[in-house]
Each structure stands twice: as structure tokens, then as C-alpha cells.
């Protein structure tokens, strides 16, 4: 058998539930523009019924929990794509800086190569003219300088990328520390059965940030979360975070260490991965090609140079006019045998223009050797290509690397935009929806209040009735 008091209690449960629901609406509206916020919905359930004899009475409504709406799969996709984006962002900015040295201008290596060989052709036309010979030395110096400058720029850029690596590792450490802390808060709340939605949102936001820096794998267990790099280096385990360190390695670059192990080569994604790839692979590849080109030109020119006679008729090779051994007269200081560093160290060995071996027979008017030197411009002296062809290959290579990274960046931006769209369609706060909910809760609240008024009237009737009889 029911009672008026029971009805009052039931109506009251409605009031309280609607208040709670309105609270979530209000929180959603307040957080409509908070990055990473997932909308909350009140979970309303029917209270346990009361069974009296054959009758079952409902006892109202309970606000069981407040749930954040999110799609974990979508979120992990976003994190992965964020890694790609971070990587391509870092690469694009590094490569765009690198390719400036290869833009066609009056100081680029290509122009310097052309000018050097042009000066040799002029020498061939006027082999005994000192001012023409001086022109060859000047062009050779310009060639060496442009190699030096581009190589220095690239080396400087690698150093700067190393500084960015140190900064990025610092940011990673800060984020993993915060995530470990949040892990603690979340498991404390969840252990006592409370919803940790807000903290989870914050943590998701931090993991997104971390993903843009480094390749993160997220392993989620009941109420704890483990983060590792893609290759398995632990970053966060529950409430514990593991710091990464940077340290100068034997190669003179800042390498990344985790618990004493060098993990530099295992980081392939995120901003850190992009920085490391640009620093350790892409820019060194360009430098290698430049070294090959510089060493190829220097060696080929020296070979011809030491096969002739200077303006005074002295042989420039390893034996002097009397057949005694002598130091060969090189045009370029011989590059390192391995070729490594050839572009950075390329320099002209002579300052006396009369030492250029234009003559092939010892007479000052002979141009045979100058012709042979000029002929190098069209000979396959560098990896089966002429100097200019090889250089144009480097330019194409740098351009391709940059445009590929840019294309990847654009694609990744688009994918990320779509994924974020999808996440917003699941988790974003819709003000229309919140307004509709608000009306709904407001009306339900008003209705419950009406029920209480009705019960109140009925109570009043009962009490007055008693007074009358009494």
C-alpha cells in the first residue's frame, strides 16, 4: 500500500535528478570551447521499485553517474596522426631551411661550378694571359667558398636541430610527469567508484600533445595507463614517469637516452622523430652528396693539373724537370681520402696564377692541359655524371625531399582535421542540444514541483479532515 509520503519522496527524487542533469548541461555549456573537453551526459536510472503484496510501486529516479562521451579508437587514431603531423612539421621546417642554399641565385654552387669551368675555357683561349689565370684562381676560390658556405649552413642547421631535440625532450619529460600525476588522480577517484571524466579529458589532451612530440603507444588497463614509445621504451607506467635524457654522443650530436640506453635511432615519429630524421638522415645525405661532388671536382682537376706545365715551363707533377721527385702542384688542396668533409674543407692550394698548368708541352702558349681541364666539365667524373648533372641531381633530391615532406604534412593535416571533426561529432558540445536538454530538465523539474504541490494539497486535505472529526 502506498503513502503520500512515498509520493513526496518520489517527486523529490525527480527534482534532485533534474537538478543534477541541469548541472551537467551547465557544465557542458561552460566548457563548450575548452579544448579536449568531452561532453558529459547524466545517466538517469529508475530507482528500485517497492513491492507491496501484489503491487509494485516505482520509487522515482536516481542520477546514477555523469558520463563523458568519448570514442577511444578515434582518440588513438588522432594520437597516431598527430605523431605523423609532428614528424612532418619538423621535417618540412628543417628541409625548407636547407633548400634555401640550393635555390638558383648568383651565389649557389651550380653557378660557381659553371663560372669555374668558364674561366678554364677562357684560360684555354689565352693560356699565357696572367689576368685570365688570375680569373681561374678567383673562380676556383669562389667555388670553394660556395661549397664551404652551403656545407657550413647545413652543419649549423644540424646543430640547431640538436638544440630543438634537447628542448623537445624537455617538453616530453614535463608531459610524461603531468600524465603520471593525472594517472594517480584518476585511479584514486575510480578506486572509490567516482567518475574521473574531467581528469581523463585533461590526460587525453596531454597525450595528444605528447603524440605530436614523440611516437607514443598507449596501453590502457582497468584504471591505469602505460605509455611507451613505439619501440617499447617506457615513458609512463601508472603513476611513475620515466625521464628521457639528452647527451652528446661520439658523433658530436645530442642523442636521446632512456635509462642509460641510446634510443635515438628507434624514435621514428612525432616532432622528435622528424627532428632526428632531418638531423641524422636527410641533411647528412645532402652533405654526403656535396662531399662527393666537391671531392670529385677537386680530384679530377688536380689529376689534370699535375699532368702539365706551369707558365714558366716547370712540370707540376710529382717529378721536376730533371726527373727528381717533387711535391706536385695542386690547384685544390687534396680532399680527405674518404671524401667526408670535402665540401666543408675545399680550398685552393695556390695563390700564384702562373702555377696553373695550362700547358701540355712546357711552352707558355700551349693550352693542351687547360683544354683537358675544361673538358672535365662535360665528363662523367662524379658517380658517372658530369659535375653540373650531379649537382642538378642534388637540387632535385633536396626539392623532392622537401616537397614530399610538405605533401605528407598537408595530407596529415587533412586527415587530422577529419578525425578531429569526427571526435567533435562524438564528444563536442552542441549548444542546440544543451538548450534542448535544458528545456527538458527545466520542464521536468517544474512538473515534479507540481506533483509536490499536489501532494501538499492532499496532505492538507487529510490534516483538515482529522481536525473536523476531532
Amino acid at each position: 500500500m502506498s503513502s503520500l509520503n512515498a509520493s513526496l519522496a518520489t517527486a523529490l527524487s525527480g527534482l534532485m535528478a533534474d537538478q543534477g542533469a541541469l548541472e551537467t548541461t551547465s557544465n557542458n555549456v561552460a566548457n563548450a570551447n575548452t579544448p579536449g573537453y568531452s561532453r558529459e551526459v547524466p545517466v538517469l536510472v529508475t530507482s528500485d521499485p517497492l513491492v507491496v503484496g501484489p503491487l509494485t510501486f516505482g520509487t522515482g529516479v536516481t542520477l546514477q553517474s555523469i558520463e563523458s562521451i568519448r570514442d577511444p579508437i578515434l582518440e588513438s587514431q588522432i594520437q597516431q596522426e598527430t605523431q605523423t603531423q609532428g614528424q612532418s612539421d619538423a621535417q618540412v621546417s628543417a628541409l625548407q631551411q636547407a633548400q634555401v642554399s640550393f635555390s638558383n641565385n648568383s651565389n649557389d654552387i651550380g653557378t660557381a661550378i659553371s663560372n669555374f669551368f668558364a674561366s678554364l675555357n677562357q684560360l684555354s683561349a689565352s693560356p699565357s694571359d696572367l689576368s685570365v689565370r688570375q680569373g681561374v684562381l678567383t673562380a676556383a676560390n669562389n667555388l670553394a667558398t660556395s661549397f664551404n658556405q652551403v656545407s657550413d649552413n647545413l652543419t649549423q642547421q644540424r646543430t640547431n636541430l640538436g638544440l630543438s631535440v634537447v628542448q623537445t625532450v624537455g617538453q616530453i619529460n614535463q608531459l610524461t610527469q603531468q600524465i603520471a600525476q593525472l594517472n594517480g588522480e584518476i585511479s584514486n577517484l575510480e578506486n572509490v567508484g567516482q567518475s574521473a571524466g574531467t581528469f581523463i579529458d585533461q590526460r587525453t589532451q596531454l597525450i595528444d600533445q605528447l603524440s605530436s612530440l614523440v611516437d607514443v603507444s598507449v596501453i590502457q588497463s582497468d584504471n591505469s595507463l602505460t605509455l611507451t614509445t613505439a619501440s617499447g621504451t617506457a615513458l609512463v607506467a601508472g603513476q611513475q614517469s620515466f625521464q628521457l635524457q639528452t647527451q652528446l654522443s661520439s658523433s658530436g650530436q645530442q642523442d636521446v637516452f632512456a635509462q642509460g640506453n641510446d634510443i635515438t635511432s628507434t624514435i621514428v615519429s612525432g616532432q622528435l622523430g622528424g627532428l632526428l630524421q632531418a638531423r641524422d638522415q636527410q641533411i647528412p645525405a645532402i652533405q654526403n652528396q656535396l662531399d662527393t661532388l666537391a671531392a670529385g671536382i677537386a680530384n679530377a682537376v688536380n689529376n689534370v693539373q699535375t699532368n702539365g706545365y706551369d707558365l714558366n715551363g716547370n712540370p707540376t707533377g710529382a717529378t721536376d724537370a730533371n726527373g727528381n721527385p717533387q711535391n706536385p702542384v695542386y690547384l685544390f688542396n687534396p680532399p680527405p681520402a674518404s671524401g667526408t668533409g670535402a665540401a666543408a674543407s675545399l680550398s685552393v692550394a695556390i695563390t700564384d696564377p702562373s702555377l696553373i698548368a695550362a700547358s701540355s708541352d712546357g711552352t707558355p702558349g700551349s693550352n693542351g692541359n687547360a683544354e683537358a681541364m675544361y673538358a672535365l666539365s662535360s665528363q662523367a667524373i662524379i658517380a658517372g655524371q658530369s659535375p653540373t648533372d650531379y649537382y642538378s641531381g642534388i637540387v632535385a633530391n633536396v626539392g623532392n625531399m622537401t616537397s614530399n615532406a610538405t605533401a605528407e604534412q598537408n595530407a596529415s593535416n587533412l586527415v587530422l582535421q577529419q578525425l578531429n571533426d569526427q571526435r567533435a561529432s562524438v564528444s563536442g558540445v552542441s549548444l542546440d542540444e544543451e538548450a534542448a536538454n535544458m528545456i527538458q530538465y527545466q520542464q521536468a523539474y517544474a512538473a515534479s514541483a507540481q506533483v509536490i504541490t499536489a501532494v501538499n494539497d492532499m496532505m492538507y486535505a487529510v490534516i483538515n479532515m482529522t481536525t473536523l472529526t476531532g
Partner: protein, 297 residues
């Protein structure tokens, strides 16, 4: 179905892309180049490097042609003077062979031929911009010195080397003829012929004089034949010059095709980008911030 309640980030991304397009177009218009960085078009950037190199080569070939042309023309006109001088020697010799002349007349003629011999040495020692043109490659010393102990009265101290000069892809020319081939060629030795003429004039042998005159006249024919070398080379250089100039024009055209901005289409693109930016801005301004809350009273 629930849709993304906040389209603002998408709209901003679109605006961003628009802005990027506008920036690229403006850069192209400002520079007149569609390839400003290698990544703009890597293949074209590589071809532009080769184009620039070829252009520099062509320019250099033209400069080199300019520097040898002067020398060749000088050599050619000197040889023309040589033939004039030899003609004079021939007429003097013919006059000297005349039996009515007395010894004193012949001595006078011999002295004049002696003068021609000295003039010939000076012509053969032609120097152009500090280099002796007919010395082979030993260009720093005068190739002919007067030497009374020599049968021909002169000594050749040059060499018989020649220079070849590359003046185009697969095009090179010989740029000199050594004196040993021109004036001292065995059988057509100019100095020997003149010396023989002098000797016979002095001794008064009319038959010797006639033989010497025909020697000089052989040498004259030989020098004339050798002038063809210079004429041919100068012609070759002229036609190579014309070819290189048209090559240079073609390279400039190719460079423009590869890397020049197509202004008409760039400006079209720019207008499109501006229109769509305008539209996106208006859309952002007009459609946002209207929701159910606005209608609740």
C-alpha cells in the same frame, strides 16, 4: 546522426589554405618565377640548373670566340701583307734577271730584297696581345731571328705545336699555324727563297736569279694556300657565333618555359583564391553563433 557542432576549425583551415595559395601566387607574380625554391618543382629546378650551366657555357664560348677572332684576323691580314711583300720580291727578281742590267743595278736590287727579307722577319714575328702568333706554342719569344750563319739567313726558334680550342659542344678549332709550317716549310721556305734571290742577285747569275724567282713565287703560292686556313677558321667562328647566339635565345626561352611564371594563370588563380577567401569569411561571419539559446525567452 550527430554532426560536429563546431565547424570553426574547419573554416579556419580552409582560410589558411586560401591564404597559402594567395601567398604563393603573390610570390610568383612578384618574382616572375614559378620555381622559386627546389620544392616548387624539383624536376624543373634540376633542369634550370642545367639550363643555367649551358647558358654560362654559351656565354663563355662567345667570349672565347671574341678573344681568338682578333688574333686570327690579325694573322690573316699579316699574311696578306706577306703576299704583297713577296709579290714585290718577285717583280724585283724578274727585273734583276734582265740581262741588260749591270752589276751595280743588281747590287741595288739585292739590297732592296735584303730589306724585304728583314721586313718578312718582322711580319713573321707578329705579336698579338703579348703573344707571338707564328711561334707555335712558344709564344713568349720571337720565333724568327736573323742569323747570317744559317743558309736561309734566319733561324726559327718557335716550335711546331698547335692549340685546339673548344668553342662548343663537340666543336673545337685549331687556333694557330706555327711558323715552321707557314714560312719555313721545307720546299716552300720563304726565307730560303729570298736568301737565294739575294745571293744570285749579288753574284749576277741570271739563270740562278730565275730559279730563285720561281722559288719565291712557289713560296708566294704556298702562303696564299695557307691563308685558306685562316679564312676557313674565321668563317667557322662566325657561323659558330651565330649558332651560339641563337642557342642562347633558345636557352632563355627554355628557362622561361621551365621556371617563368604564367602570369595570366597565376592572376586567375589569385582571383579565385581571393573570391573563395571572401566567401569563406562571409560564411564564418554570417552562419556562426546562432543556436537554440538565441530563441529561448
Amino acid at each position: 546522426m550527430r554532426v560536429n557542432p563546431n565547424p570553426l576549425p574547419d573554416l579556419l583551415a580552409t582560410l589558411n589554405l586560401n591564404q597559402q595559395q594567395i601567398n604563393t601566387d603573390l610570390e610568383e607574380i612578384a618574382s616572375g618565377q614559378s620555381v622559386n625554391e627546389p620544392s616548387d618543382n624539383p624536376a624543373a629546378a634540376a633542369m634550370l640548373v642545367q639550363n643555367a650551366d649551358q647558358t654560362s657555357q654559351v656565354d663563355q664560348y662567345l667570349r672565347s670566340i671574341g678573344s681568338v677572332q682578333g688574333e686570327l684576323q690579325n694573322a690573316d691580314s699579316t699574311l696578306s701583307s706577306v703576299t704583297t711583300v713577296l709579290q714585290r720580291a718577285i717583280s724585283l727578281g724578274t727585273e734583276g734577271a734582265n740581262g741588260t742590267l749591270n752589276s751595280a743595278d743588281r747590287q741595288a736590287i739585292a739590297a732592296e730584297v735584303q730589306g724585304i727579307q728583314i721586313q718578312m722577319v718582322s711580319l713573321a714575328n707578329l705579336s698579338y696581345q703579348g703573344s707571338f702568333v707564328f711561334a707555335g706554342t712558344a709564344t713568349q719569344t720571337a720565333p724568327y731571328v736573323l742569323d747570317p750563319t744559317s743558309a736561309s739567313g734566319v733561324r726559327y726558334v718557335g716550335n711546331s705545336e698547335v692549340n685546339n680550342l673548344t668553342l662548343g659542344d663537340h666543336f673545337s678549332v685549331q687556333t694557330n699555324l706555327p711558323g715552321s709550317e707557314l714560312f719555313s716549310s721545307p720546299g716552300n721556305d720563304v726565307f730560303q727563297a729570298l736568301q737565294d734571290l739575294i745571293t744570285n742577285l749579288e753574284s749576277g747569275s741570271t739563270s740562278g736569279i730565275s730559279t730563285a724567282v720561281s722559288e719565291v713565287s712557289n713560296a708566294y703560292n704556298y702562303i696564299n694556300a695557307q691563308r685558306v686556313f685562316y679564312g676557313n677558321t674565321i668563317n667557322q667562328l662566325n657561323s659558330q657565333q651565330t649558332y651560339l647566339q641563337s642557342d642562347s635565345t633558345q636557352l632563355a626561352q627554355q628557362q622561361d618555359t621551365l621556371g617563368g611564371a604564367d602570369l595570366a594563370s597565376v592572376i586567375g588563380n589569385l582571383e579565385n583564391a581571393q573570391v573563395s577567401r571572401q566567401a569563406a569569411l562571409e560564411a564564418v561571419a554570417n552562419t556562426l553563433q546562432t543556436d537554440l539559446f538565441n530563441y529561448l525567452k
